[in-house]
Symmetry: C2
Subunit: 248 residues, 2 copies
């Protein structure tokens, strides 16, 4: 019987810019007593990665542009936050009913370009990491060295989606595992070749990791054991190119 | 340290219309030796539920309408399958580049209205269950009686999504657990009230269950242990009403 297990790792203190996040992760995992081995996958919340990388902006330093002022006034938003959302974006996808959905410079399509005030120090907001795949790769290198094992790392964040209610966690950055697993060419139980069954395994892993992390408790890291997705995937692969997308 | 575990339950034979799926699930779970207790969540692939409920259509019985014939001819599809997709739909959301995305009678927005030939007997296709919440509730009742425990049930299927590559498993039907968990009103680590953090927990559970089920092996059922989402959610709650959706 195949089984997998996920652990929420407690004990990480509030992260500040410049903190050595990898060292802190290693410390809390060791303190937890969890044994780490090859194939284990670390899922780390974007928020702590962004904080360690200094992606915190004090709102008093932001001068809003006219469109940011206008939109903020129409919808009761903070114009400085709107300005940061626009700066983090390369394209506005929807700007309607007070909702601002944009395509970030990474290509992620999400509300407010991932700019978020929750769990941010007062008077500031947190931006997405500049390069989540690179953040994942750097964490992976440190974690692999510390634990002497081949590991996977996912940097995750909660995004909304069209058509369905509720947010789900998705993978922004990926290292050491496949992001997409392609079942095409395999045969189904009747021997018929499966047509379109590319599964976003990194997103599904990010999703369940959220369930063990919790949103308000300080558990921004989970470890998944028992999966076997070692590979060279990336968060970029999960971003559908605009010209292949029917909904932008 | 919070931990959760998922088990793929092997041994289910090919399901035929009229099979007593609940009895068969109970049998394979018992044979697996897994101990079932209150709070455990069964995730069952839509495909086996549909088969047991007789939602299999022999293509030779289907007469395509003119638009089905036209679309099929343009894009090299089977016109009888296209006809079934249209019959299962209340609205076409996109019909472009050979891709047919519709809103089903349930309200799900997905490719081909969930009509699928993979794992279907030759010459036939499988439709979504008529009422996945009802299917989940009926399975739940039987499973709870058999195992003497309060359980959750999710009926899952793989859907694509805009903006991101790859399919993820989502919850079509839900019984005995929350589908959405609302963290609004809770406080973040700085004491600030969280604004929009409604998490689609049933979708995240369906997603990871897929990873232990596999697509081509006959493991259409997984059991999740260690979560605590007991409640009265439904798959319907996960469907965003059309008038609240910016992408239809």
């Amino acid at each position: 019987m195949q089984s997998v297990q996920l652990f929420g790792i407690p004990g990480l203190r509030e992260i500040r810019p410049g903190d050595d996040l990898a060292a802190m992760l290693i410390e809390v995992v060791r303190a937890s007593g969890l044994r780490i081995g090859t194939g284990d996958i670390f899922v780390v919340a974007q928020k702590v990665v962004s904080k360690a990388e200094g992606r915190i902006v004090a709102l008093e330093t932001v001068t809003p542009s006219p469109i940011a002022l206008s939109w903020a006034e129409q919808h009761g938003k903070d114009p400085r936050v709107v300005e940061l959302v626009l700066r983090e974006s390369r394209r506005v996808v929807r700007m309607d009913r007070g909702i601002l959905i944009t395509e970030t410079h990474h290509g992620f399509v999400c509300a407010n370009a991932g700019v978020d005030s929750s769990n941010a120090p007062p008077g500031s907001v947190i931006l997405l990491p500049v390069d989540p795949d690179r953040s994942a790769a750097m964490l992976r290198e440190r974690l692999e060295a510390a634990f002497g094992a081949r590991l996977g790392v996912i940097i995750s964040d909660s995004f909304g989606r069209p058509w369905r209610e509720g947010l789900t966690n998705v993978a922004l950055g990926v290292a050491g595992i496949e992001a997409l697993v392609d079942f095409r060419g395999q045969k189904d139980t009747f021997g018929r070749v499966l047509q379109v069954t590319v599964i976003a395994v990194a997103d599904e892993l990010a999703g369940v990791a959220e369930l063990v992390m919790g949103k308000t408790r300080q558990v921004p890291v989970a470890v998944a054991q028992g999966f076997s997705f070692a590979g060279q995937g990336s968060g970029r692969q999960l971003v559908r190119p605009c010209n292949m997308d029917l909904f932008r």
